[in-house]
């Protein structure tokens, strides 16, 4: 059973974030990048199926610029068998539906029985690409998955609901599973894995290789357009207490006493 993992390279959360000159996105100049955290769990879920002998091959796919190859290399070092990198300058500024169409086109003919992805990406937080891909392929998709169990011809998943409840769903294969963090404990790449990854294939493809019309992608075709990125309003804003730990502690006790009556 061939298994695909959709991954994205995103800025590390402790990167120095600045808004770009146009005020429409972050300035990418100073950022450092890594594999999206959710995707580490998606990869681990696929690798566990391979460890059990249920998955024959685990393939990682990413759509992104040159630097995204580093994230794919991380997947290979962690245990993925091969990788597909969709890279084309004309993809810059694409909206999620265009990216989903690109992914669907890139895997045409591959016959993946299972596709794992992270619930969302840590940059745009869109929470939609895995299910968009599923719909384009005519497959079911479950999001926020906390547990997945492969059955004969189907997969049983537990989805996270509000207020500590879970929804159990059984999906006919082929299917798409978007995992929540905490579904497993992702492994790290071993030294041996890093060495082995050097011999593994990253196949780089462009729009013409996968038969996608450049007019359908990129910023020009995007119908989901970020017109402004800004720092969040401070809201009412907290009163910030200053002083030594003991001084602020005393001031906090006073505020709590005045405002809540719990002390």
């Amino acid at each position: 059973m061939k298994t695909l993992v959709l991954v994205k390279q995103v800025p590390n959360t402790d990167s120095p974030f600045r808004i770009n000159a146009a005020g429409t996105w972050v300035d990418e100049g100073n950022l450092t990048y890594g594999l999206n955290d959710y995707d580490r769990y998606a990869l681990e879920e696929a690798l566990r199926l391979k460890d059990k002998g249920a998955a024959t091959e685990v393939v990682a796919l990413s759509v992104g610029p040159e630097r995204a190859a580093t994230a794919l290399r991380t997947c290979l070092a962690t245990g993925a068998d091969r990788a597909i990198h969709v890279k084309d300058d004309r993809l810059a500024g694409s909206d999620p539906l265009a990216i989903a169409k690109v992914i669907a086109a890139a895997i045409k003919g591959e016959e993946f029985r299972l596709i794992f992805a992270g619930l969302q990406a840590d940059d745009d937080n869109y929470t939609q690409t895995p299910a968009l891909v599923a719909r384009l392929l005519g497959r079911p998709c479950a999001t926020a998955v906390l547990k997945a169990e492969l059955l004969d011809g189907s997969i049983r998943v537990e989805r996270e609901l509000e207020n500590n409840r879970v929804q159990v769903i059984e999906m006919t294969l082929p299917a798409v599973v978007a995992v929540q963090t905490g579904i497993n404990e992702p492994r790290y790449a071993s030294l041996k894995g890093i060495m082995a990854a050097k011999k593994k294939e990253i196949r780089t493809v462009g729009l013409s290789d996968i038969g996608v019309d450049a007019a359908q992608v990129g910023g020009g075709a995007a119908r989901l357009k970020t017109v402004r990125l800004a720092h969040p309003p401070k809201g009412k804003g907290a009163e910030i207490l200053k002083g030594s730990a003991d001084e602020v502690a005393k001031a906090l006790v006073q505020r709590i006493r005045e405002k809540t009556g719990v002390l």
């Binding site: 159990v168 769903i169 907290a238």
Partner: protein, 329 residues
């Protein structure tokens, strides 16, 4: 009147969920702004045995409640729900389809978007439509930034809206109810509902707690949580946590507060080492008095807190515990 805003209602056992009344409130606000008229807001309700819920929607916000009532829709399935929403959105061709950013809302919305080739803005905190052009506001980079989105000349756009983004609709309407054939064959569904059950729980109920002290990623390790427990004990409160804490197994899932955990509204909420990702904020911003302790002065948690301390929680939290104990003497 033609439909301009289609609200996808959510119900639980036949009772309309709060998020739906908020969506109806938002839909009316957007319709007013855009000059679409109050009669342009319709609701779509999916499920089984929905007569009471449908009547409620028609009386509280929907000019028409479109009802797909069928045993095949008794429980949520992504492909079953998506097929009905797609078909009705196609028939009504509204400018805007609104869903709640709930586990089922965010699960189904992309299917509908891909099926209708429409742009989807997720987890919106505000939706406006000046001059009839939808504009969506949401958080990006886990709350570090606010993002505003436009959809160009797309004739229809779809949005999932977070809880609390709008007041619930408070007026009354004399809407009508119309039943539609969902046309779903349960045997052909690719995603089949099995059950909903409680997650693993030790019986903790944070929703009823008057005082909660929560720890986040800033604690760094499970054993460091003792300072949070000590403060909670001194205050006579319960221990809460943000997602990274329960993901890392430092505390069981039942302690998690936020969109994927529980929603709480204690009199006092103390957030320690929690940056304040939107997923956490939606679960605790209704608290009476919020204290935030964090080393990052720009952390979003200070935006919702009443009082904050920027500094090392390993110094401040134990000092606060001591001060509380002295105050209690």
């Amino acid at each position: 009147m033609s439909c301009k805003v289609l609200v996808v209602a959510e119900q639980d056992g036949g009772a309309v969920r709060d998020i739906t009344w908020e969506l109806l409130g938002l839909a009316h606000k957007v319709a007013r702004e855009a000059g679409w008229g109050e009669g342009s807001v319709k609701a779509l309700l999916l499920g089984q045995n929905l007569d009471t819920a449908a009547k409620g929607l028609a009386e509280r916000g929907a000019a028409e409640a479109i009802v797909a009532d069928s045993p095949a829709l008794a429980n949520y399935s992504c492909d079953g729900s998506a097929a009905v929403i797609e078909a009705q959105a196609q028939a009504e061709s509204p400018a805007l389809v609104l869903l709640g950013h709930t586990p089922n809302g965010w699960d189904v919305a992309p299917h509908v978007a891909a099926g209708l080739d429409a742009p989807l803005a997720t987890e919106c905190s505000a939706v406006t439509a000046p001059g009839g052009k939808p504009r969506f506001t949401r958080k990006a980079f886990n709350g570090k930034f606010v993002q505003e989105i436009e959809v160009g000349d797309a004739p229809m756009s779809i949005a999932t809206v977070q809880r609390g983004a709008s007041q619930a609709f408070s007026g009354s309407t004399q809407g009508t109810v119309r039943k539609v054939d969902p046309g779903i064959d349960p045997a052909k569904l690719q995603a089949r509902f099995v059950e909903v059950r409680k997650g693993e729980s030790g019986g903790l109920d944070l929703t009823q707690a008057a005082i909660i002290v929560s720890g986040g990623r800033g604690l760094g390790a499970a054993e460091k949580f003792s300072i949070i427990r000590d403060l909670a004990q001194a205050l006579g409160g319960q221990v809460g946590a943000s997602r990274p804490v329960t993901d890392s197994g430092w505390l069981p899932h039942e302690h998690q507060i936020g969109s994927s955990g529980v929603t709480v509204a204690p009199k006092l909420y103390v957030a320690c080492g929690i940056s304040g990702a939107i997923q956490h904020l939606v679960g605790m911003r209704g608290s009476g008095f919020i204290v935030a302790i964090n080393k990052d002065a720009d952390a979003p948690i200070f935006g919702v807190a009443d009082v904050g301390v920027v500094g090392d929680l390993f110094e401040i939290v134990p000092a606060l515990t001591k001060a509380v104990q002295e105050a209690r003497k």
